[in-house]
Protein backbone atom coordinates (compact mmCIF):
# COMPACT_ATOMS: atom_id res chain seq x y z
CA UNK A 1 0.00 0.00 0.00
CA UNK A 2 1.33 3.37 -0.98
CA UNK A 3 1.95 6.23 1.43
CA UNK A 4 -0.90 8.14 -0.15
CA UNK A 5 -3.24 5.25 0.51
CA UNK A 6 -2.15 5.05 4.13
CA UNK A 7 -2.75 8.77 4.54
CA UNK A 8 -6.19 8.45 2.99
CA UNK A 9 -7.16 5.53 5.21
CA UNK A 10 -5.78 7.25 8.28
CA UNK A 11 -7.77 10.37 7.57
CA UNK A 12 -10.92 8.32 7.06
CA UNK A 13 -10.38 6.45 10.31
CA UNK A 14 -9.82 9.69 12.19
CA UNK A 15 -12.94 11.20 10.66
CA UNK A 16 -14.95 8.11 11.57
CA UNK A 17 -13.87 8.31 15.19
CA UNK A 18 -14.26 12.06 15.51
CA UNK A 19 -17.52 12.53 13.59
CA UNK A 20 -20.01 11.95 16.42
CA UNK A 21 -18.04 14.25 18.72
CA UNK A 22 -17.77 16.97 16.09
CA UNK A 23 -21.46 16.75 15.25
CA UNK A 24 -23.10 15.41 18.42
CA UNK A 25 -26.56 16.48 17.27
CA UNK A 26 -26.21 14.27 14.22
CA UNK A 27 -24.82 11.18 15.94
CA UNK A 28 -27.94 9.13 15.23
CA UNK A 29 -27.91 10.21 11.58
CA UNK A 30 -24.25 9.24 11.35
CA UNK A 31 -24.99 5.85 12.86
CA UNK A 32 -27.69 5.48 10.21
CA UNK A 33 -25.13 6.32 7.57
CA UNK A 34 -23.06 3.32 8.61
CA UNK A 35 -26.12 1.10 8.47
CA UNK A 36 -26.77 2.37 4.95
CA UNK A 37 -23.16 1.68 3.97
CA UNK A 38 -23.61 -1.88 5.20
CA UNK A 39 -26.85 -2.30 3.26
CA UNK A 40 -25.31 -1.04 0.03
CA UNK A 41 -22.18 -3.16 0.42
CA UNK A 42 -24.10 -6.35 1.10
CA UNK A 43 -26.47 -5.79 -1.83
CA UNK A 44 -23.51 -5.31 -4.10
CA UNK A 45 -22.08 -8.73 -3.26
CA UNK A 46 -24.75 -10.34 -5.41
CA UNK A 47 -25.98 -7.37 -7.43
CA UNK A 48 -22.60 -6.01 -8.41
CA UNK A 49 -19.94 -8.65 -7.96
CA UNK A 50 -22.00 -11.68 -8.94
CA UNK A 51 -24.51 -10.17 -11.36
CA UNK A 52 -27.63 -11.44 -9.57
CA UNK A 53 -30.41 -8.97 -8.79
CA UNK A 54 -31.84 -9.60 -5.37
CA UNK A 55 -34.95 -7.59 -4.61
CA UNK A 56 -35.54 -9.29 -1.29
CA UNK A 57 -32.36 -8.87 0.74
CA UNK A 58 -34.44 -6.90 3.22
CA UNK A 59 -35.59 -10.30 4.50
CA UNK A 60 -32.28 -10.82 6.28
CA UNK A 61 -32.38 -7.34 7.76
CA UNK A 62 -35.78 -8.14 9.25
CA UNK A 63 -34.86 -11.63 10.39
CA UNK A 64 -31.80 -10.25 12.16
CA UNK A 65 -33.88 -7.58 13.81
CA UNK A 66 -36.49 -9.98 15.13
CA UNK A 67 -33.94 -12.62 16.11
CA UNK A 68 -32.04 -10.17 18.25
CA UNK A 69 -35.26 -8.80 19.74
CA UNK A 70 -36.46 -12.25 20.73
CA UNK A 71 -33.10 -13.16 22.28
CA UNK A 72 -32.66 -9.82 24.06
CA UNK A 73 -36.03 -10.11 25.73
CA UNK A 74 -36.32 -13.87 25.92
CA UNK A 75 -33.18 -14.28 28.01
CA UNK A 76 -34.83 -12.52 30.91
CA UNK A 77 -38.58 -12.46 30.36
CA UNK A 78 -41.35 -14.37 28.68
CA UNK A 79 -41.49 -12.89 25.16
CA UNK A 80 -45.23 -13.44 24.75
CA UNK A 81 -45.94 -11.63 28.02
CA UNK A 82 -43.55 -8.85 27.02
CA UNK A 83 -45.24 -8.23 23.68
CA UNK A 84 -48.74 -8.58 25.13
CA UNK A 85 -50.12 -5.04 24.86
CA UNK A 86 -52.04 -5.53 28.12
CA UNK A 87 -49.15 -5.96 30.49
CA UNK A 88 -45.86 -5.08 28.86
CA UNK A 89 -45.13 -1.93 30.82
CA UNK A 90 -44.07 -3.73 33.97
CA UNK A 91 -41.22 -5.75 32.40
CA UNK A 92 -37.93 -3.90 32.59
CA UNK A 93 -34.23 -4.65 32.24
CA UNK A 94 -31.31 -3.89 34.51
CA UNK A 95 -28.30 -2.36 32.73
CA UNK A 96 -26.49 -5.68 33.07
CA UNK A 97 -29.42 -7.51 31.52
CA UNK A 98 -29.58 -4.96 28.74
CA UNK A 99 -25.96 -5.27 27.68
CA UNK A 100 -25.88 -9.03 28.12
CA UNK A 101 -29.06 -9.36 26.08
CA UNK A 102 -27.77 -7.05 23.39
CA UNK A 103 -24.55 -9.05 23.09
CA UNK A 104 -26.53 -12.26 22.77
CA UNK A 105 -28.88 -10.61 20.30
CA UNK A 106 -26.01 -9.44 18.15
CA UNK A 107 -24.79 -13.02 18.11
CA UNK A 108 -28.16 -14.53 17.28
CA UNK A 109 -29.08 -12.08 14.52
CA UNK A 110 -26.35 -12.93 12.01
CA UNK A 111 -26.73 -16.64 12.72
CA UNK A 112 -30.48 -16.58 12.05
CA UNK A 113 -30.06 -14.47 8.90
CA UNK A 114 -27.26 -16.66 7.57
CA UNK A 115 -29.25 -19.82 8.14
CA UNK A 116 -32.20 -18.30 6.29
CA UNK A 117 -29.94 -17.36 3.37
CA UNK A 118 -28.49 -20.86 3.23
CA UNK A 119 -31.94 -22.42 3.21
CA UNK A 120 -33.47 -20.10 0.61
CA UNK A 121 -30.26 -20.03 -1.38
CA UNK A 122 -30.19 -23.80 -1.62
CA UNK A 123 -33.74 -23.64 -2.95
CA UNK A 124 -33.51 -20.87 -5.50
CA UNK A 125 -29.86 -20.15 -6.22
CA UNK A 126 -29.49 -23.16 -8.46
CA UNK A 127 -31.51 -20.97 -10.84
CA UNK A 128 -30.38 -18.21 -13.13
CA UNK A 129 -30.87 -14.45 -12.89
CA UNK A 130 -34.53 -13.66 -13.63
CA UNK A 131 -35.89 -16.61 -11.65
CA UNK A 132 -33.83 -15.64 -8.67
CA UNK A 133 -34.82 -11.98 -9.02
CA UNK A 134 -38.57 -12.60 -9.10
CA UNK A 135 -38.39 -15.19 -6.35
CA UNK A 136 -36.61 -12.69 -4.10
CA UNK A 137 -39.35 -10.13 -4.77
CA UNK A 138 -41.65 -12.29 -2.69
CA UNK A 139 -39.20 -12.88 0.14
CA UNK A 140 -39.50 -9.50 1.81
CA UNK A 141 -43.29 -9.50 1.60
CA UNK A 142 -43.57 -13.01 2.96
CA UNK A 143 -41.28 -12.05 5.87
CA UNK A 144 -43.39 -9.01 6.70
CA UNK A 145 -46.61 -11.01 6.49
CA UNK A 146 -45.36 -13.71 8.81
CA UNK A 147 -44.03 -11.20 11.33
CA UNK A 148 -47.25 -9.18 11.23
CA UNK A 149 -49.33 -12.30 11.83
CA UNK A 150 -47.10 -13.75 14.55
CA UNK A 151 -48.60 -12.68 17.85
CA UNK A 152 -45.61 -13.95 19.84
CA UNK A 153 -43.49 -11.07 18.55
CA UNK A 154 -46.26 -8.54 18.81
CA UNK A 155 -47.88 -9.04 15.40
CA UNK A 156 -48.74 -5.98 13.39
CA UNK A 157 -48.42 -3.63 16.36
CA UNK A 158 -44.71 -4.40 16.56
CA UNK A 159 -42.09 -5.05 19.16
CA UNK A 160 -40.86 -2.40 21.59
CA UNK A 161 -37.14 -2.88 22.20
CA UNK A 162 -35.60 -2.70 25.69
CA UNK A 163 -34.65 0.84 26.58
CA UNK A 164 -30.97 1.83 26.59
CA UNK A 165 -29.97 2.16 30.24
CA UNK A 166 -27.39 4.93 29.92
CA UNK A 167 -28.04 8.65 29.63
CA UNK A 168 -29.53 9.97 26.43
CA UNK A 169 -26.41 11.46 24.83
CA UNK A 170 -24.47 8.27 25.45
CA UNK A 171 -27.10 6.24 23.60
CA UNK A 172 -26.38 7.87 20.23
CA UNK A 173 -22.62 7.47 20.73
CA UNK A 174 -23.02 3.86 21.72
CA UNK A 175 -25.01 2.97 18.63
CA UNK A 176 -22.76 5.05 16.45
CA UNK A 177 -19.85 2.94 17.66
CA UNK A 178 -21.74 -0.27 16.96
CA UNK A 179 -22.90 0.81 13.52
CA UNK A 180 -19.49 2.16 12.53
CA UNK A 181 -17.83 -1.07 13.63
CA UNK A 182 -20.32 -3.03 11.57
CA UNK A 183 -19.79 -0.89 8.49
CA UNK A 184 -16.03 -1.15 8.74
CA UNK A 185 -16.12 -4.87 9.47
CA UNK A 186 -18.41 -5.47 6.51
CA UNK A 187 -16.14 -3.49 4.22
CA UNK A 188 -13.03 -5.27 5.47
CA UNK A 189 -14.58 -8.73 5.26
CA UNK A 190 -15.97 -8.22 1.78
CA UNK A 191 -12.73 -6.71 0.55
CA UNK A 192 -10.87 -9.66 1.97
CA UNK A 193 -13.25 -12.09 0.28
CA UNK A 194 -13.18 -10.33 -3.08
CA UNK A 195 -9.40 -10.54 -3.03
CA UNK A 196 -9.51 -14.33 -2.70
CA UNK A 197 -10.40 -16.96 -5.27
CA UNK A 198 -13.96 -16.45 -4.05
CA UNK A 199 -13.96 -12.98 -5.62
CA UNK A 200 -12.70 -14.34 -8.91
CA UNK A 201 -15.50 -16.91 -8.86
CA UNK A 202 -18.12 -14.23 -8.15
CA UNK A 203 -16.97 -12.14 -11.09
CA UNK A 204 -16.74 -15.17 -13.34
CA UNK A 205 -20.37 -16.05 -12.54
CA UNK A 206 -21.37 -12.48 -13.32
CA UNK A 207 -19.61 -12.46 -16.68
CA UNK A 208 -20.55 -15.94 -17.94
CA UNK A 209 -21.98 -18.55 -15.63
CA UNK A 210 -22.00 -21.33 -18.24
CA UNK A 211 -18.36 -20.76 -19.00
CA UNK A 212 -17.56 -20.81 -15.30
CA UNK A 213 -19.26 -24.20 -15.04
CA UNK A 214 -17.46 -25.50 -18.10
CA UNK A 215 -14.22 -24.65 -16.32
CA UNK A 216 -15.30 -26.59 -13.25
CA UNK A 217 -16.00 -23.67 -10.90
CA UNK A 218 -18.32 -24.67 -8.04
CA UNK A 219 -20.91 -22.07 -9.06
CA UNK A 220 -23.83 -23.18 -6.92
CA UNK A 221 -21.74 -23.32 -3.76
CA UNK A 222 -20.23 -19.92 -4.46
CA UNK A 223 -23.63 -18.35 -5.11
CA UNK A 224 -25.15 -19.68 -1.90
CA UNK A 225 -22.08 -18.73 0.13
CA UNK A 226 -22.14 -15.20 -1.28
CA UNK A 227 -25.76 -14.76 -0.27
CA UNK A 228 -25.04 -16.16 3.18
CA UNK A 229 -22.19 -13.71 3.66
CA UNK A 230 -24.33 -10.73 2.74
CA UNK A 231 -27.13 -12.07 4.96
CA UNK A 232 -24.70 -12.33 7.88
CA UNK A 233 -23.92 -8.62 7.82
CA UNK A 234 -27.49 -7.66 6.96
CA UNK A 235 -28.68 -9.57 10.01
CA UNK A 236 -26.30 -7.60 12.20
CA UNK A 237 -27.40 -4.35 10.59
CA UNK A 238 -31.00 -5.28 11.34
CA UNK A 239 -30.21 -6.03 14.97
CA UNK A 240 -28.43 -2.72 15.45
CA UNK A 241 -31.08 -0.74 13.64
CA UNK A 242 -33.87 -2.37 15.64
CA UNK A 243 -32.24 -1.24 18.86
CA UNK A 244 -31.43 2.18 17.49
CA UNK A 245 -34.98 2.69 16.31
CA UNK A 246 -36.52 1.37 19.53
CA UNK A 247 -39.70 0.06 17.88
CA UNK A 248 -39.76 -2.84 15.46
CA UNK A 249 -42.72 -2.59 13.14
CA UNK A 250 -43.02 -5.59 10.82
CA UNK A 251 -43.73 -3.95 7.48
CA UNK A 252 -42.33 -0.44 7.85
CA UNK A 253 -39.19 -1.12 9.87
CA UNK A 254 -38.10 -4.75 9.79
CA UNK A 255 -39.19 -5.99 6.35
CA UNK A 256 -39.31 -2.49 4.93
CA UNK A 257 -39.23 -3.28 1.25
CA UNK A 258 -40.38 0.17 0.22
CA UNK A 259 -37.62 2.01 2.08
CA UNK A 260 -34.45 0.15 3.08
CA UNK A 261 -35.14 -2.59 0.57
CA UNK A 262 -35.17 -0.12 -2.31
CA UNK A 263 -32.48 2.12 -0.89
CA UNK A 264 -29.89 -0.62 -0.82
CA UNK A 265 -30.35 -1.27 -4.54
CA UNK A 266 -30.30 2.40 -5.33
CA UNK A 267 -27.22 3.21 -3.26
CA UNK A 268 -25.19 0.39 -4.78
CA UNK A 269 -25.97 1.29 -8.37
CA UNK A 270 -25.67 5.01 -7.69
CA UNK A 271 -22.16 4.65 -6.32
CA UNK A 272 -21.07 2.09 -8.88
CA UNK A 273 -21.98 -1.57 -8.64
CA UNK A 274 -19.30 -4.17 -8.72
CA UNK A 275 -16.71 -1.90 -7.14
CA UNK A 276 -15.41 -1.86 -3.58
CA UNK A 277 -15.90 1.82 -2.82
CA UNK A 278 -18.90 2.42 -5.07
CA UNK A 279 -21.57 1.26 -2.59
CA UNK A 280 -19.87 3.30 0.15
CA UNK A 281 -19.86 6.42 -1.99
CA UNK A 282 -23.43 5.74 -3.09
CA UNK A 283 -24.58 5.32 0.50
CA UNK A 284 -22.93 8.55 1.64
CA UNK A 285 -24.24 10.58 -1.30
CA UNK A 286 -27.74 9.14 -1.01
CA UNK A 287 -27.99 9.44 2.76
CA UNK A 288 -26.72 12.99 2.87
CA UNK A 289 -28.96 14.05 -0.02
CA UNK A 290 -31.88 12.30 1.60
CA UNK A 291 -31.35 14.04 4.94
CA UNK A 292 -30.89 17.45 3.36
CA UNK A 293 -33.51 17.51 0.67
CA UNK A 294 -35.99 14.78 1.51
CA UNK A 295 -38.44 17.06 3.24
CA UNK A 296 -38.67 19.35 0.22
CA UNK A 297 -40.18 16.55 -1.82
CA UNK A 298 -43.37 16.78 0.21
CA UNK A 299 -44.41 13.16 0.20
CA UNK A 300 -43.12 12.40 -3.28
CA UNK A 301 -39.91 10.87 -1.89
CA UNK A 302 -40.80 7.29 -2.64
CA UNK A 303 -41.94 8.17 -6.12
CA UNK A 304 -38.61 9.89 -6.64
CA UNK A 305 -36.84 6.67 -5.61
CA UNK A 306 -38.39 4.80 -8.51
CA UNK A 307 -37.50 7.59 -10.93
CA UNK A 308 -33.93 7.62 -9.61
CA UNK A 309 -33.46 3.89 -10.11
CA UNK A 310 -34.77 4.05 -13.66
CA UNK A 311 -32.65 7.09 -14.51
CA UNK A 312 -29.48 5.59 -13.06
CA UNK A 313 -29.99 2.24 -14.80
CA UNK A 314 -30.64 3.94 -18.14
CA UNK A 315 -28.27 6.87 -18.15
CA UNK A 316 -25.67 6.33 -15.46
CA UNK A 317 -25.20 2.57 -15.33
CA UNK A 318 -21.60 2.71 -14.17
CA UNK A 319 -22.49 4.81 -11.15
CA UNK A 320 -20.37 7.55 -9.64
CA UNK A 321 -17.25 5.49 -9.18
CA UNK A 322 -17.48 3.64 -12.47
CA UNK A 323 -17.95 6.93 -14.24
CA UNK A 324 -15.02 8.54 -12.46
CA UNK A 325 -12.91 5.56 -13.35
CA UNK A 326 -13.75 5.90 -17.01
CA UNK A 327 -13.16 9.63 -16.94
CA UNK A 328 -9.95 9.64 -14.93
CA UNK A 329 -8.54 6.13 -15.33
CA UNK A 330 -5.21 6.98 -13.68
CA UNK A 331 -6.65 8.26 -10.41
CA UNK A 332 -9.39 5.70 -10.03
CA UNK A 333 -7.93 2.76 -11.88
CA UNK A 334 -9.14 -0.68 -11.04
CA UNK A 335 -6.95 -2.76 -8.84
CA UNK A 336 -5.40 -5.23 -11.23
CA UNK A 337 -6.32 -8.63 -9.90
CA UNK A 338 -3.39 -10.89 -9.34
CA UNK A 339 -0.86 -8.08 -9.50
CA UNK A 340 2.00 -8.93 -7.20
Amino acid sequence: MSARRWALHGALALLTAAAPFLLPALAVQLAMLWIMVTLALTWDTLGGQMGYNSFGNILFFGIGMYASAIVQVGLFHDVAAYTDPAGSGSLTFTPREYYLGLAAGLLAAPIAATLAALAFGALILGLRGPYFAIATLGLGIAGGEFAAAWGYVGGASGFLMPVFPGEFGRRALFFYALAASLGIATFAALRWLYGRRFGLALNAIRDDEDKAEALGLPTVRVKIAAWAVSAFFLGLAGAIFGNLNGLIEPREVAFSGATFGVWMVLMAILGGKGTMWGPVVGAVVFHVTKELFWTYLLGWQRVALGVLIVVIVLFFPLGILGHARRRWPETFRARVEGAA
Partner: protein, 247 residues
Amino acid sequence: MSALLEVRGASKRFGGVVANEKISISVRAGEIVGLIGPNGSGKTTLFNSIAGTHQIDGGAIAFDGAEISRLRTVDIARLGLIRTYQTTRVFKQMTCVANLLAAAPAFGGGTPALLARPERAERARADEFLFFVGLADKRGMVAGELSFGQQKLLEFAMALMRRPRLLLLDEPTAGINPTLINALMDRMRRANAELGVTLLVIEHNMAVIMNLARRIYCLAHGELLAEGTPEDIRADPRVLDAYLGAR
Protein backbone atom coordinates in the same frame (compact mmCIF):
# COMPACT_ATOMS: atom_id res chain seq x y z
CA MET B 1 -3.74 -48.59 -25.07
CA SER B 2 -7.35 -47.89 -24.21
CA ALA B 3 -9.16 -44.77 -25.35
CA LEU B 4 -9.28 -41.60 -23.26
CA LEU B 5 -12.56 -40.62 -24.87
CA GLU B 6 -14.93 -43.20 -26.26
CA VAL B 7 -18.18 -42.08 -27.87
CA ARG B 8 -20.38 -45.03 -28.78
CA GLY B 9 -23.44 -44.54 -30.93
CA ALA B 10 -24.28 -41.09 -29.57
CA SER B 11 -27.51 -39.66 -30.96
CA LYS B 12 -29.05 -36.24 -30.45
CA ARG B 13 -32.28 -34.90 -31.85
CA PHE B 14 -33.72 -31.41 -31.57
CA GLY B 15 -37.43 -31.80 -32.08
CA GLY B 16 -37.63 -33.64 -35.37
CA VAL B 17 -34.16 -32.67 -36.53
CA VAL B 18 -31.53 -35.35 -36.14
CA ALA B 19 -28.33 -33.49 -35.25
CA ASN B 20 -26.24 -36.56 -34.42
CA GLU B 21 -27.14 -40.08 -35.49
CA LYS B 22 -25.29 -42.96 -33.79
CA ILE B 23 -21.86 -41.38 -33.88
CA SER B 24 -18.93 -43.36 -32.58
CA ILE B 25 -15.50 -41.85 -32.21
CA SER B 26 -12.59 -42.55 -29.96
CA VAL B 27 -9.59 -40.52 -28.92
CA ARG B 28 -6.51 -42.10 -27.34
CA ALA B 29 -4.46 -40.29 -24.73
CA GLY B 30 -1.79 -38.11 -26.31
CA GLU B 31 -3.43 -37.83 -29.72
CA ILE B 32 -4.44 -34.84 -31.75
CA VAL B 33 -7.67 -35.75 -33.52
CA GLY B 34 -9.54 -33.62 -36.01
CA LEU B 35 -13.30 -33.32 -36.43
CA ILE B 36 -14.43 -31.87 -39.73
CA GLY B 37 -17.60 -31.58 -41.74
CA PRO B 38 -19.63 -28.99 -43.57
CA ASN B 39 -21.73 -26.45 -41.66
CA GLY B 40 -24.62 -28.06 -39.88
CA SER B 41 -23.11 -31.51 -39.92
CA GLY B 42 -23.37 -31.81 -36.15
CA LYS B 43 -19.83 -31.16 -34.95
CA THR B 44 -20.66 -28.65 -32.24
CA THR B 45 -23.65 -30.76 -31.20
CA LEU B 46 -21.26 -33.63 -30.62
CA PHE B 47 -19.00 -31.37 -28.52
CA ASN B 48 -22.00 -30.27 -26.48
CA SER B 49 -22.95 -33.90 -25.92
CA ILE B 50 -19.46 -34.79 -24.76
CA ALA B 51 -19.05 -31.74 -22.50
CA GLY B 52 -22.46 -32.25 -20.89
CA THR B 53 -24.25 -29.19 -22.25
CA HIS B 54 -27.25 -31.30 -23.16
CA GLN B 55 -28.56 -34.79 -22.71
CA ILE B 56 -27.93 -37.33 -25.46
CA ASP B 57 -30.91 -39.32 -26.68
CA GLY B 58 -29.01 -42.55 -27.11
CA GLY B 59 -25.56 -44.08 -26.94
CA ALA B 60 -22.79 -43.80 -24.42
CA ILE B 61 -19.85 -41.50 -23.74
CA ALA B 62 -16.93 -42.68 -21.63
CA PHE B 63 -14.04 -40.57 -20.43
CA ASP B 64 -11.06 -42.49 -19.13
CA GLY B 65 -13.23 -45.59 -18.88
CA ALA B 66 -16.01 -43.96 -16.83
CA GLU B 67 -19.44 -43.14 -18.21
CA ILE B 68 -19.98 -39.35 -18.28
CA SER B 69 -23.11 -38.93 -20.39
CA ARG B 70 -25.26 -38.21 -17.36
CA LEU B 71 -22.84 -36.05 -15.38
CA ARG B 72 -23.22 -32.30 -14.99
CA THR B 73 -20.92 -29.96 -16.93
CA VAL B 74 -19.09 -28.97 -13.76
CA ASP B 75 -18.30 -32.54 -12.84
CA ILE B 76 -17.15 -33.38 -16.36
CA ALA B 77 -14.86 -30.35 -16.27
CA ARG B 78 -13.45 -31.52 -12.94
CA LEU B 79 -12.49 -34.82 -14.53
CA GLY B 80 -10.22 -32.85 -16.82
CA LEU B 81 -12.37 -32.62 -19.90
CA ILE B 82 -12.45 -28.97 -20.96
CA ARG B 83 -13.98 -27.37 -24.02
CA THR B 84 -13.81 -24.01 -25.77
CA TYR B 85 -16.68 -22.39 -27.64
CA GLN B 86 -17.13 -21.61 -31.29
CA THR B 87 -18.50 -18.21 -30.31
CA THR B 88 -15.65 -17.68 -27.83
CA ARG B 89 -16.53 -17.17 -24.22
CA VAL B 90 -14.29 -15.34 -21.79
CA PHE B 91 -15.08 -13.34 -18.65
CA LYS B 92 -15.47 -10.01 -20.38
CA GLN B 93 -15.36 -7.59 -17.48
CA MET B 94 -12.34 -9.23 -15.88
CA THR B 95 -8.72 -8.59 -16.77
CA CYS B 96 -6.85 -11.13 -18.86
CA VAL B 97 -4.80 -12.36 -15.94
CA ALA B 98 -7.93 -12.65 -13.79
CA ASN B 99 -9.53 -14.72 -16.54
CA LEU B 100 -6.64 -17.15 -16.28
CA LEU B 101 -6.66 -17.19 -12.48
CA ALA B 102 -10.39 -17.92 -12.54
CA ALA B 103 -9.61 -20.95 -14.69
CA ALA B 104 -7.11 -22.36 -12.22
CA PRO B 105 -7.66 -25.98 -11.19
CA ALA B 106 -7.54 -24.93 -7.52
CA PHE B 107 -11.26 -24.10 -7.66
CA GLY B 108 -11.98 -27.78 -7.37
CA GLY B 109 -10.39 -27.74 -3.91
CA GLY B 110 -13.37 -26.93 -1.70
CA THR B 111 -14.05 -24.02 0.63
CA PRO B 112 -10.51 -23.51 2.02
CA ALA B 113 -9.26 -23.15 -1.55
CA LEU B 114 -11.97 -20.61 -2.29
CA LEU B 115 -10.88 -18.53 0.69
CA ALA B 116 -7.23 -18.56 -0.31
CA ARG B 117 -5.50 -16.11 -2.55
CA PRO B 118 -4.21 -17.49 -5.85
CA GLU B 119 -0.81 -18.92 -5.03
CA ARG B 120 2.43 -17.56 -6.36
CA ALA B 121 2.93 -20.60 -8.59
CA GLU B 122 -0.57 -20.16 -9.94
CA ARG B 123 0.10 -16.54 -10.83
CA ALA B 124 3.34 -17.50 -12.45
CA ARG B 125 1.53 -20.12 -14.51
CA ALA B 126 -1.09 -17.56 -15.52
CA ASP B 127 1.63 -15.26 -16.75
CA GLU B 128 3.34 -18.12 -18.56
CA PHE B 129 0.18 -18.99 -20.44
CA LEU B 130 -0.48 -15.36 -21.32
CA PHE B 131 3.03 -15.28 -22.73
CA PHE B 132 2.46 -18.65 -24.39
CA VAL B 133 -0.45 -17.32 -26.47
CA GLY B 134 1.17 -13.94 -27.02
CA LEU B 135 -1.03 -11.85 -24.75
CA ALA B 136 1.56 -11.00 -22.10
CA ASP B 137 1.32 -7.29 -22.84
CA LYS B 138 -2.48 -7.40 -22.46
CA ARG B 139 -2.21 -8.82 -18.95
CA GLY B 140 -4.07 -6.05 -17.12
CA MET B 141 -6.48 -5.30 -19.94
CA VAL B 142 -10.17 -6.07 -19.56
CA ALA B 143 -10.92 -9.13 -21.69
CA GLY B 144 -13.96 -7.56 -23.35
CA GLU B 145 -11.69 -4.97 -24.96
CA LEU B 146 -9.62 -7.59 -26.77
CA SER B 147 -10.26 -8.31 -30.45
CA PHE B 148 -12.20 -11.46 -31.31
CA GLY B 149 -9.03 -13.30 -32.27
CA GLN B 150 -7.30 -12.25 -29.06
CA GLN B 151 -10.29 -13.45 -27.04
CA LYS B 152 -9.99 -16.76 -28.85
CA LEU B 153 -6.35 -16.99 -27.79
CA LEU B 154 -7.28 -16.02 -24.23
CA GLU B 155 -9.90 -18.74 -24.14
CA PHE B 156 -7.31 -21.26 -25.32
CA ALA B 157 -4.94 -20.11 -22.57
CA MET B 158 -7.72 -20.39 -19.97
CA ALA B 159 -8.43 -23.94 -21.05
CA LEU B 160 -4.75 -24.84 -20.73
CA MET B 161 -4.58 -23.16 -17.33
CA ARG B 162 -7.23 -25.60 -16.15
CA ARG B 163 -4.73 -28.48 -16.76
CA PRO B 164 -7.06 -30.46 -18.99
CA ARG B 165 -6.40 -34.03 -19.93
CA LEU B 166 -8.61 -33.74 -22.95
CA LEU B 167 -9.27 -30.40 -24.60
CA LEU B 168 -12.10 -29.93 -27.08
CA LEU B 169 -11.30 -26.95 -29.30
CA ASP B 170 -14.16 -25.55 -31.37
CA GLU B 171 -12.67 -23.81 -34.41
CA PRO B 172 -9.57 -22.43 -32.71
CA THR B 173 -8.28 -20.60 -35.78
CA ALA B 174 -11.54 -18.93 -36.83
CA GLY B 175 -11.14 -15.19 -36.64
CA ILE B 176 -7.43 -15.42 -35.97
CA ASN B 177 -5.19 -13.19 -38.03
CA PRO B 178 -3.87 -15.51 -40.83
CA THR B 179 -0.29 -14.51 -40.09
CA LEU B 180 -0.74 -15.86 -36.57
CA ILE B 181 -2.27 -19.18 -37.53
CA ASN B 182 1.06 -20.95 -37.85
CA ALA B 183 2.06 -19.70 -34.42
CA LEU B 184 -1.23 -20.93 -32.95
CA MET B 185 -0.77 -24.35 -34.56
CA ASP B 186 2.66 -24.49 -33.02
CA ARG B 187 1.11 -23.70 -29.60
CA MET B 188 -1.45 -26.46 -30.02
CA ARG B 189 1.27 -28.94 -30.88
CA ARG B 190 3.34 -27.82 -27.91
CA ALA B 191 0.37 -28.07 -25.59
CA ASN B 192 -0.01 -31.62 -26.84
CA ALA B 193 3.64 -32.61 -26.69
CA GLU B 194 4.93 -30.65 -23.68
CA LEU B 195 1.82 -30.41 -21.47
CA GLY B 196 0.44 -33.80 -22.42
CA VAL B 197 -2.96 -32.43 -23.42
CA THR B 198 -4.96 -34.65 -25.74
CA LEU B 199 -6.73 -32.55 -28.37
CA LEU B 200 -9.97 -33.03 -30.25
CA VAL B 201 -10.26 -30.15 -32.70
CA ILE B 202 -13.16 -28.92 -34.83
CA GLU B 203 -11.67 -27.03 -37.72
CA HIS B 204 -12.87 -25.56 -40.98
CA ASN B 205 -9.46 -24.61 -42.25
CA MET B 206 -8.39 -27.78 -44.10
CA ALA B 207 -4.77 -26.77 -44.35
CA VAL B 208 -4.64 -26.40 -40.58
CA ILE B 209 -6.34 -29.63 -39.65
CA MET B 210 -4.55 -31.78 -42.24
CA ASN B 211 -1.32 -30.46 -40.87
CA LEU B 212 -2.20 -30.74 -37.21
CA ALA B 213 -4.13 -33.96 -36.72
CA ARG B 214 -2.94 -37.51 -37.00
CA ARG B 215 -6.45 -38.82 -37.42
CA ILE B 216 -9.57 -37.11 -38.65
CA TYR B 217 -13.29 -37.83 -38.32
CA CYS B 218 -15.60 -36.36 -40.89
CA LEU B 219 -19.29 -35.76 -40.14
CA ALA B 220 -22.01 -35.02 -42.66
CA HIS B 221 -25.74 -34.65 -42.07
CA GLY B 222 -25.30 -35.70 -38.47
CA GLU B 223 -23.65 -39.00 -39.33
CA LEU B 224 -20.09 -40.18 -39.23
CA LEU B 225 -19.03 -40.20 -42.87
CA ALA B 226 -15.39 -41.16 -42.78
CA GLU B 227 -12.38 -41.53 -40.55
CA GLY B 228 -8.71 -41.97 -41.13
CA THR B 229 -5.40 -40.24 -41.58
CA PRO B 230 -5.34 -36.87 -43.31
CA GLU B 231 -4.26 -38.66 -46.45
CA ASP B 232 -7.20 -41.07 -46.26
CA ILE B 233 -9.62 -38.22 -45.72
CA ARG B 234 -8.18 -36.17 -48.51
CA ALA B 235 -8.46 -39.14 -50.86
CA ASP B 236 -11.99 -40.07 -49.79
CA PRO B 237 -14.45 -39.01 -52.52
CA ARG B 238 -17.36 -39.02 -50.05
CA VAL B 239 -15.72 -36.24 -48.03
CA LEU B 240 -15.30 -34.09 -51.10
CA ASP B 241 -18.91 -34.77 -52.06
CA ALA B 242 -20.11 -33.80 -48.61
CA TYR B 243 -18.29 -30.49 -48.79
CA LEU B 244 -19.49 -29.78 -52.30
CA GLY B 245 -23.00 -30.72 -51.33
CA ALA B 246 -23.26 -33.37 -54.03
CA ARG B 247 -25.28 -35.75 -51.97
